[in-house]
Symmetry: C2
Subunit: 215 residues, 2 copies
DNA sequence: GCAGAACTGAAACAAACGCTTGATTTCTTG
DNA sequence: CAAGAAATCAAGCGTTTGTTTCAGTTCTGC
């Protein structure tokens, strides 16, 4: 059939495109968002420099495509983990669900953890054009806040948002900093047994003392 | 006196050197560690490109010098804040002292916060040659652990180290991420009233439940 | 005053950067 | 089979990068 051969051709045509995306993600994790070189990407992917302009338009567009796809799969994984939560879930269950994708990547390591490192950088870099993903992004926050408001009725909404962002930021930091690599060498249960209490404690907060001034 | 004029000359000679260091710190905060350009530094500082090679040897050496000086002043400030702590200080007092330099920078904003952003990046970037500062760095951790072990006798030492690094990482994240900029717009008391409970809760931890698996 | 160190200036260096061009090959379609 | 779309290729574009060179200036020490 002509259509079948057409599909094969199309796949062959898109093969270098996807290969470029894959190696871009690898190099982004290794070199950081600024250290991405057009030549290095194409040579690693076994493609020509013109392939980037042809398939994506520019190196920056290729980078954004790669980051966006990684970010979306992470948000999907986090939403899946948060979905089973209900209004009477505990804070620890919330923390465990919220951290599940990161903990899984830490336990597995390798390419998966490397990709998540790029995702975590998104939280630092100047707010890019991830506008398409803001619904999913805000959905994770909404899911988390539902449990938080039920369990911590005395805390203001803004403060709960702050704590949620702190929890997310701490997870991002763990993937980026050397401590994450050290943590990845531990068994999976150990990772969870160390990380979940910290996250739960951060979300729960601690009574603010009357005087914190030292000395 | 000849020596006096010699000093003046030496100061005049070192003036461009210090000016280069200052503008390097500003540009590092604005452009990030990779976005530092030799031309931009020298033109902003009003110096010649050769001045960098002459005074520091290379652009990378200039950058390392600038980062190291900023890192050292931060560690000194943190050590000053941790010094008054005793064995019977509370976890909240520890958290407040540990976060004091960062909170101060967030409250003041401006150049001070920008410099701290460069300091926070050190925790992400590949372990550089800050070997000279490792004593001070480990001293902050030791000071924190003294209070932690006294207040949380049931928790293993390694886990307390992990929590300390989590607290430090969370502070770094707050300076780097957009949430830090938002937090900086709040009054100083609000910053402390929001941040200290989160840090205290993270350090204190939360009882790990028997089953955290969701669904 | 004079030799020499300390420092600054403008110009040029090779290398790497992202991107474009035009020819060539591969495959689909009528 | 021929026309044209899709894709890849080598080569070169102009710019920017960090660094070097060397002449010139400014000050110190004897």
């Amino acid at each position: 059939m002509a259509s079948e051969r057409s599909d094969l051709r199309r796949e062959a045509g898109q093969r270098t495109r996807e290969c470029l995306l894959r190696t871009t993600l690898q190099l982004l994790a290794a070199r950081g968002p600024e250290g991405l070189s057009l030549r290095e990407v194409t040579e690693t992917a076994g493609a020509n420099v013109a392939a980037v302009s042809y398939h994506f338009g520019s190196l920056k567009a290729l980078r954004d495509s790669a980051v966006e796809s990684a970010l979306e799969s992470y948000l999907d994984a986090q939403l899946d983990a948060l979905a089973p939560l209900s209004a009477d879930s505990t804070l620890a269950e919330l923390a465990a669900a919220f951290a599940r994708p990161m903990m899984q990547a830490l336990a597995v390591g390798g390419a998966e953890l490397a990709i998540l490192r790029t995702v975590a950088r998104v939280g630092i870099d100047p707010p890019g054009n991830w506008g398409r993903l803001t619904p999913k992004f805000e959905q994770t926050r909404t899911d988390a806040l539902r449990v938080l408001t039920a369990r911590l009725p005395g805390v203001a909404h803004e403060e709960l948002v702050f704590r949620t962002r702190c929890a997310a930021g701490l997870l991002n930091w763990l993937v980026l900093a050397p401590i994450g690599a050290e943590l990845a060498t531990q068994p999976a249960e150990r990772i969870e047994q160390w990380l979940v209490p910290v996250l739960t404690g951060a979300l729960e907060g601690h009574a603010y003392p009357d005087t914190t001034t030292i000395g």
